[in-house]
Subunit: 206 residues, 3 copies
């Protein structure tokens, strides 16, 4: 793996934008909670930023999110777009599910490859990838005072992230190109998550 590997800015911004969009879509549904516009925007920004912030905090590196103005601008714009879309679309849930699966895939792949590029061992890098993938959703639920979705029967959320991150770590150990490995990882996370929703896959209740 290339020592100088860096996440391309557009890929990271894409993940942040999609995260912020679906975060705002999600928050805008809770009409009974009396969130104001800013509250919805904040949830969008938190979902867009959460994964990357947790990743860089865990890795003890300067937060990518704060090195240029683009992240805050993209996240804010995407959150506002999500808020508008929620008013226009009649059925928003399927869209949230798809974008959310994409978000955990992208953040998991970026987190895992960045951790490996910084020299972390494989299992620790997968841990960082999983936390980067699910971090935004945990912060969202904490801020909205909802039960943490991730913890409960029927989500296959972290499992999907772990499957994708694990695959990336294995592929990179076999010298597969990092973009190929990343794309495969995103596809696996997305596939496991969507399949669990479509076919009702879940882990056994404890």
């Amino acid at each position: 793996m290339d020592d100088l590997f860096v996440i391309p800015l557009w890929a990271d911004l894409l993940a942040v934008g999609i995260g912020a969009l679906q975060g705002a879509l999600f928050a805008a549904q809770f009409r009974d909670r009396r969130l104001d516009w800013l509250g919805v925007a904040i949830i969008g920004i938190v979902v867009g930023f959460g994964g990357g912030l947790l990743r860089d905090l865990l890795l003890n590196v300067p937060l990518a999110t704060l090195q240029t103005n683009w992240y805050v601008l993209v996240a804010t714009g995407a959150a506002l777009l999500g808020m508008l879309l929620e008013r226009v679309l009649s059925r928003v849930n399927p869209l949230i599910t798809v974008l959310d699966a994409l978000t955990i895939g992208l953040f998991g792949a970026i987190g895992t490859t960045k951790a490996l590029a910084l020299g972390l061992p494989e299992v620790a890098a997968i841990f960082v990838g999983v936390l980067a993938a699910v971090g935004g959703s945990i912060l969202r639920d904490l801020l909205l005072n909802l039960p943490i979705a991730l913890m409960h029967v029927g989500s296959l959320y972290a499992v999907a992230a772990a499957a994708g991150s694990g695959t990336i770590a294995v592929l990179l150990a076999f010298d597969v190109d990092v973009f190929v490995a990343g794309a495969v990882g995103v596809a696996i996370t997305f596939g496991v998550r969507m399949a669990s929703v479509l076919f009702g896959w879940s882990l056994p209740e404890q």
Copy 2:
């Protein structure tokens, strides 16, 4: 802006002390929650420390709060003082509101100027300032299992912080002295927040 600009210790300690004082005043009201003395003191310390901790974590610099013993001592003392005051004063709510508005102003100004001094771009620095301003109150609500006040209609909390932080960034871009800019930022945040309370300003519900 002076490259060597640092927050004076007294300014940072003042913000921490006021934050801890109003945090303890706030927590001490919840008699039905069976908080013990320590619980009240912890909330005070969290409100006093939260903004600065989040700021320095985001900036990936050593936490100012831990470089001398003063922060822990001032926050603990102010929290205990707040606990006593709550028993003595008959109407504590207006005092909490005023001190709280001052806290978000001070933490926002310190966070924004510190971020700019470390070379962050303007929008990212405003983001750090806002999070430093509101971080203590978010952590407080999480620890007390309250709905996050910030998220709901009628607070104008983050708006006030963003107005102050944004003003500071603009003033510094025009080479205004950092203490003047900081004072103006604190005044704007304080003013917007107090006006929203006094005149019932709020953002439209989404």
Copy 3:
């Protein structure tokens, strides 16, 4: 105190393992919450990792937890063991209480000594020790949407951690050997916490 003092890997892994074990034991009790296996494992890992993560974030050093694969493996294994044990044992509460008291003792001692070794002043180091001790339990309660146990009457949780961490700081100031000081600190934290449970010690309600 030796400038080159480092926490031995086995001591840190022991604390993580015991934390993860009791975290999973704790979470597995909530049958009505519909946690799946992964949810229980996550709580175990969070309790095992939480203290060390918060400690290293506060100290702005690379996270020990991520420098080798051992931490993730030990925490995951211990969490799974805890889940199995909960099904086998008829009365699991006393075991949780004992292991929990041991966890806060170990994390408090490791946090305090590491902070002092990095040159933090005494009061700040005690603060880091206390947060390292109680951090896992706070994160656990947040993720399970429970009232933060630490905040309420009758826990003597943070008091026990502070007593142990404070003792360690005093002993080290008198040049006591770090392992002796650490062991005394763990014993004091363990003793205060267990005594508060057995004899119903508590702080006065505010």
